[in-house]
């Protein structure tokens, strides 16, 4: 059973998708229920994964490794550790909540729900795969359903956004594929842990550098780091609400996960060499993302740019952990902060996109200047939006603060000036988020919205778990931090051993 649990988690959604496809297309309710029911076992299993993981032993657990394509030494190889488990949990949680929120989808529901479940398989596969070949396949699989979700169920410019999303990410994927092949020819394995152990291109600076840049491109586009971020606002604005939730909540994390799982441990010398440029890109993402977010009039675009800012913190933590100087404790804090920020951002920004969806569905408006005074009219919505906005600006006591604290504390001794300048982002975050609250909720009520109803039960169900987790992680972060402390210490210690160039 232990060997098959990851396979089950990854492929139960596929079974669900196939089940949905077998249903007649006019039975919308049956389709939705089927999709929801099939999304639950992975969620439950991801919790069992977490509770059942032996933190004493650490390392990869629930491992399954079966030869797949013998001639090329490719295995069906899956395993998880403290880095992947929280992200798997987040994926299954957000998928289930998104499906609940998607109950309103009545346009071609069969295809929609099937694609959503395929998407879940792709994302979970990325987090569980330990073989580069498998990893790459899942990486690509996660791309296709999202392309269709944006392209079919999206807004007015959906075709443009979908193709941009697809091609942009594909550029990164192709670069990554080349790098994977390069690594294979160097160390003759597709196994990620083996490749890490063998340190590919050790001593071959040109190749290591090229491999780094190729992987970096793939992950930096996904994160997205400035200047590779412009696909994100378009994709978010056009995507259906649940698509945005998954996009911000999980797909961006694939990039951060790639950095932590592959880039840092496998190419430590190059990572060390390029850590300063990475930190600078992170700083630009943080400040630039916040400043551009402030200029937005479209609520969804504002949240999208805030993701550029927030993922910039993740990049900063990763860059600090990769740096040449700095104590192990500082680097571990920075990297723990980056992991934590990914989790927190998934909860908070996921919720914010849901909330944008809630108000858009009622008003068919996202123009911030057209709202106003909704706080008195729909107080529960107002409370939820304010809560999540404050969580997003890093209010202490909530999840986002702990991650910012750790990233800043970890990065400060390593990149003092860059980190101090990144502090500017903290002020700017408060400015654009409070301004957003003001324009949506405060002031006199715009008479256009006197008929707007408050959140309904379905929306509350999809939001409350995110609120609860945001508080829980903010108040008791130890549970999450202890989960990935082991692997992070290993990465950081190994990175500190490297000679660099």
């Amino acid at each position: 059973m232990n060997h098959w649990i990851l396979t089950l988690i990854t492929f139960i959604p596929t079974l669900g998708a196939l089940a949905v496809l077998c249903l007649p297309k006019d039975k919308a309710s049956a389709i939705k229920w089927t999709a929801l029911i099939f999304s639950l076992p992975p969620f439950v299993l991801s919790i069992l994964l977490w509770t059942g993981y032996n933190f004493g032993t650490g390392g990869l657990q629930y491992v399954i490794q079966i030869p797949w394509i013998k001639d090329l030494n490719i295995h069906y190889y899956m395993g998880v550790d403290g880095i992947s488990i929280p992200l798997i949990f987040l994926t299954t949680l957000l998928t289930t909540l998104s499906l609940i929120y998607s109950w309103i989808i009545n346009e071609r529901p069969k295809e929609y729900f099937a694609l959503f479940l395929f998407l879940e398989t792709g994302m979970l596969g990325v987090f569980t795969a330990m073989d580069f070949f498998l990893f790459y396949i899942f990486w690509e699989i996660s791309l296709v359903p999202m392309y269709f979700l944006i392209g079919v169920w999206g807004g007015p410019r959906k075709e443009y956004a979908a193709i941009k999303f697809f091609l942009y990410t594909l550029v990164g994927s192709v670069a990554m594929l080349l790098a994977i092949i390069g690594v294979y020819f160097n160390v003759h394995t597709f196994s990620i842990p083996d490749a890490i152990q063998k340190l590919p291109f050790a001593g071959d600076w040109t190749m290591q550098s090229l491999a780094f840049i190729a992987f970096f491109l793939a992950f930096a586009i996904k994160v997205p780091s400035w200047p590779f971020h412009t696909w994100l606002p378009d994709a978010h604005v056009e995507a259906p609400t649940a698509g945005s939730v998954i996009l911000a909540g999980i797909l961006l994390k694939l990039g951060g996960y790639g950095f932590i799982r592959i880039l840092l441990p496998m190419l430590p010398d190059a990572a060390q060499f390029y850590s300063m440029p990475m930190a600078i890109l992170a700083l630009i993402s943080i400040v630039y993302g916040a400043l551009v977010a402030m200029a937005q009039k479209d609520m969804k675009k504002l949240i999208a740019y805030s993701s550029v800012n927030h993922m910039g913190y993740v990049m900063l933590g990763i860059a600090a952990a990769a740096a040449a100087n700095g104590a192990v404790a500082d680097k571990a804090m920075a990297l723990s902060g980056a992991m934590m920020q990914m989790f927190a951002h998934g909860l908070i920004t996921g919720a914010l996109f849901l909330l944008v969806g809630v108000i858009y569905e009622r008003t068919h408006n996202r123009d911030l200047d057209q709202f106003g005074g909704l706080g008195a009219k729909i107080p529960v919505y107002g409370g939820l939006l304010s809560f999540m906005a404050f969580a997003s600006l890093g209010l202490p006591g909530l999840a986002g603060f702990v991650s910012e604290l750790l990233i800043f504390r970890g990065a400060l001794p390593i990149y003092t000036v860059i980190t101090a300048l990144a502090g500017l982002g903290i002020i700017l975050n408060a400015a654009y988020l409070l301004w957003m609250i003001q324009r949506v909720l405060l002031g006199p009520l715009n008479p256009r919205w006197v008929e707007v109803p408050d959140v309904d039960r379905r929306e509350v169900i999809s939001l409350v778990p995110l609120v609860a987790l945001t508080i829980f992680v903010g108040v008791l972060p130890a549970l999450l931090i202890n989960t990935f402390n082991g692997p992070i210490m290993n990465i950081v210690k190994a990175a500190s051993m490297t000679g660099g160039y």
Binding site: K164, W226, M333, F390, P396, A430, W435, G443, A478
Partner: protein
């Protein structure tokens, strides 16, 4: 004794009880007891009682023991990178004083609010917010580490935002709330960076562990600057924001948009004093050497703020804004006390306590006035002393304390600050006297216009407020009178309890006391002459020195300057970057896309006409041949017979020719 010591183990309950009240009010809403008000009052009252017991424990230990050992306890919170971070409480004499101030004022304000907020459409929410504030403020007070201090610091900032913008339908209120949060956050980033710097250098967030590292930090530098003053000044940036010190004071006057009891509790007595408390709590970082650069900055900012705000207060007409500028000025006094060093530490914190009582009294009094008259403009009031006796007398007592008249609480604390300044820095002392003079003057002006003389607006029918509002006023008035006596110059119990290092109380000085009292009476006299006796016309200042009047009436144009040099450029930059993002960054992406499409068109042409052309040519030749050959493949037997016949003829012909 044993019982009291045991009771301190429950210190963590002090902030938790109001937090529970907050949760309970959220859950019950309008159905809760007293629509939530009773839950809130019960929560804070329990905290008050518990605080009194904890204070008693501190007192009994401090007054009997030789070496005071604080009550402290902590539990692990998280461990990152091998560094454990613990959360806990730390109760010493300073904590005890703050507990007394915060729980007393918070409880009285919440009782008062039952009357003041009566009939408000978001009544339960008000009490929920104010309970949350109390919880955060109390956890700030008892924090044993700088991280919990910062967390609570931000949470009181949140509740301040929520309460300033409580009537958020009003655009002025919503803007004030946002302004307060963002301006204080500018300082908070400094605090955050200072916290991180100390955490980095001392590898701990615990206060006592940090202080233990100070000797080691003395020699350390950051960017060539000594690390300790850098950390201290960063922390002080937070205090400047929270305590509305120059140049981040601009948010506090606008914060008066909030309900008046909120102004009393948050924006006069407790939260804004948290900055002073921060300096007091972190004093070893500031006073690592006598007359450290950090302390000099604190004192300088303090006196600038005290003078600046006092001058502005002399020409304001909104009763709450006068008090707001007065608060800024008095907070400046406290900073000045802490900044001059030595016993100034004791004096500044003593003033924090007395000010909390009389300023809360003044704000609640002004709330009662607003409640009774329906206006905040003192030019429309007048003659309220007869119509609102309780409000009037309590207000008068608090005014005397603020002006520093002898035997009121304000006298003892202000005198102590001036006394320290007198010995430490004469410039600061004389400027402080000017501020004290101005304080007495603007308060006399306020009293004269609002309470004395004849009613100016006949349409206002003032009435006294209900008992639930006047009773807390009476309690605060009593405290405003008597709270100073624990700092009696010859037997200074307060100094015995709250002092830094081995500093002995500086002996009482008649010179200073007389000068301070003299300046207060001079201010009152001038105010009386101008606004009661009209010996000097009140408009003389405006007419003779219009530029100076305008400068003060417009608050030195701080808002306008910040708007012009910060806000407008910021919006320009955001708009510019947005254009850059869409036109340049995304333009490049789309450019690459377009080039790719163009390339594909070119390749398509090449493919069609060159590559495919070659293929077609071959095809065409083949086709031509095929067409020619087709004549041989008709499928008709007679044709084949004909071909055969022709063929045979040709063979026969060739054979015959050879």
């Amino acid at each position: 004794m044993e019982f009291l010591t045991r009771i301190t183990e429950l210190t963590w309950l002090i902030p938790l009880l109001p937090a529970l009240a907050f949760a309970l009010i959220l859950l019950t809403g309008r159905k809760g007891p007293g629509q939530g008000a009773y839950i809130a009052v019960a929560g804070i009252a329990s905290s008050f009682v518990l605080s009194l017991l904890v204070i008693a424990a501190v007192l009994s230990r401090a007054l009997h023991g030789h070496e005071f050992e604080a009550f402290a306890h902590s539990a692990p919170w998280m461990t990152v990178g091998g560094l454990p971070i613990r959360m806990g409480y730390y109760v010493d004499q300073l904590t005890a004083m703050m507990l007394l101030v915060v729980t007393t004022v918070a409880m009285l304000v919440q009782i008062y609010s039952i009357g003041y907020m009566h009939g408000d459409k978001r009544y339960p929410r008000y009490f929920a917010y104010i309970s949350l504030f109390s919880a955060a403020m109390l956890s700030l007070v008892i924090a044993d580490n700088l991280l919990l201090f910062f967390i609570s610091w931000e949470l009181v900032g949140l509740t301040s935002y929520l309460l300033i913008g409580f009537w958020f339908e009003k655009p002025s209120a919503m803007r004030a709330a946002k302004k307060a949060f963002i301006v204080t956050r500018v300082g908070d980033v400094g605090f955050f960076m200072g916290l991180l710097l100390l955490f980095w250098y001392t590898q701990s967030v615990n206060l006592r562990e940090m202080f233990a590292h100070i000797p080691a930090m003395m020699s350390q530098t950051i960017f060539g600057l000594p690390a300790l003053p850098v950390a201290g000044l960063l922390l002080f940036a937070g205090a400047v924001g929270k305590s509305a010190q120059f140049p981040l004071h601009v948010w506090l006057p606008d914060a008066m948009e909030g309900p008046t009891p909120v102004s009393a509790l948050i924006h006069a007595a407790t939260m804004v004093a948290a900055g002073v408390y921060l300096v007091g709590r972190m004093y070893p970082i500031f006073a690592f050497e006598p007359h450290s650069i950090t302390l000099t900055v604190v004192a300088t900012i303090g006196i600038i703020t005290a003078l600046m705000a006092a001058t502005i207060a002399t020409v304001q007409n909104d009763i709450k804004r006068i008090l707001a500028y007065s608060t800024i000025s008095q907070l400046g006094f406290m900073m000045m006390g802490l900044g001059v060093g030595g016993c100034g530490y004791t004096a500044g914190l003593f003033h924090l306590m007395t000010h909390a009582f009389f300023k809360a009294n003044l704000f609640l009094g002004s709330g009662s006035v607003i409640h009774g008259t329906g206006t905040q403009d003192i030019r429309e009031m007048g003659g309220l002393s007869k119509k609102m006796p309780y409000t009037y007398w309590t207000f008068l007592i608090a005014t005397a304390a603020l002006a520093g008249l002898p035997f009121t609480s304000g006298f003892f604390s202000k005198d102590e600050i001036l006394l320290e300044a007198f010995h430490a820095n004469q410039t600061i002392f004389w400027l402080g006297l000017v501020a004290a003079f101005l304080t007495a003057f603007y308060m006399t002006r306020l009293m004269a216009l609002a309470f004395w003389g004849e009613p100016k607006n006949k349409e206002i029918h003032a009435h006294e407020s209900p008992k639930v509002m006047t009773r807390p006023l009476v309690v605060l008035a009593v405290l405003s009178l008597v709270a100073g006596y624990i700092g009696w110059p010859t037997k200074n119990i307060f100094h015995h309890l709250v002092h830094f290092g081995e500093a002995e109380a500086v002996p009482f000085s008649w010179t200073v006391a007389l000068l301070a009292t003299g300046s207060a009476f001079a201010g009152i006299g001038l105010g009386w002459a101008v606004f009661m006796k009209r010996v000097i016309s009140p408009s003389v200042f405006r007419e003779k020195l219009p530029w100076a009047y305008n400068l003060l009436a417009n608050k030195y144009y701080f808002d306008e300057i910040y708007w012009a040099i910060l806000v407008v450029p910021l919006f320009r930059i955001t708009a510019m970057l947005n254009g850059f993002d869409q036109k340049i960054v995304d333009g490049m992406v789309n450019g690459v896309g377009r080039v790719t499409v163009l390339m594909s068109v070119v390749w398509g042409w090449f493919d069609k006409w060159v590559v495919d052309g070659a293929v077609l040519l071959i095809g065409a030749i083949t086709k031509l041949l095929g067409r020619l050959l087709r004549f041989t493949q008709t499928g008709m037997e007679q044709d084949y017979v004909l071909f055969m016949f022709v063929g045979i003829l040709m063979i026969v012909g060739v054979y015959l020719l050879h």
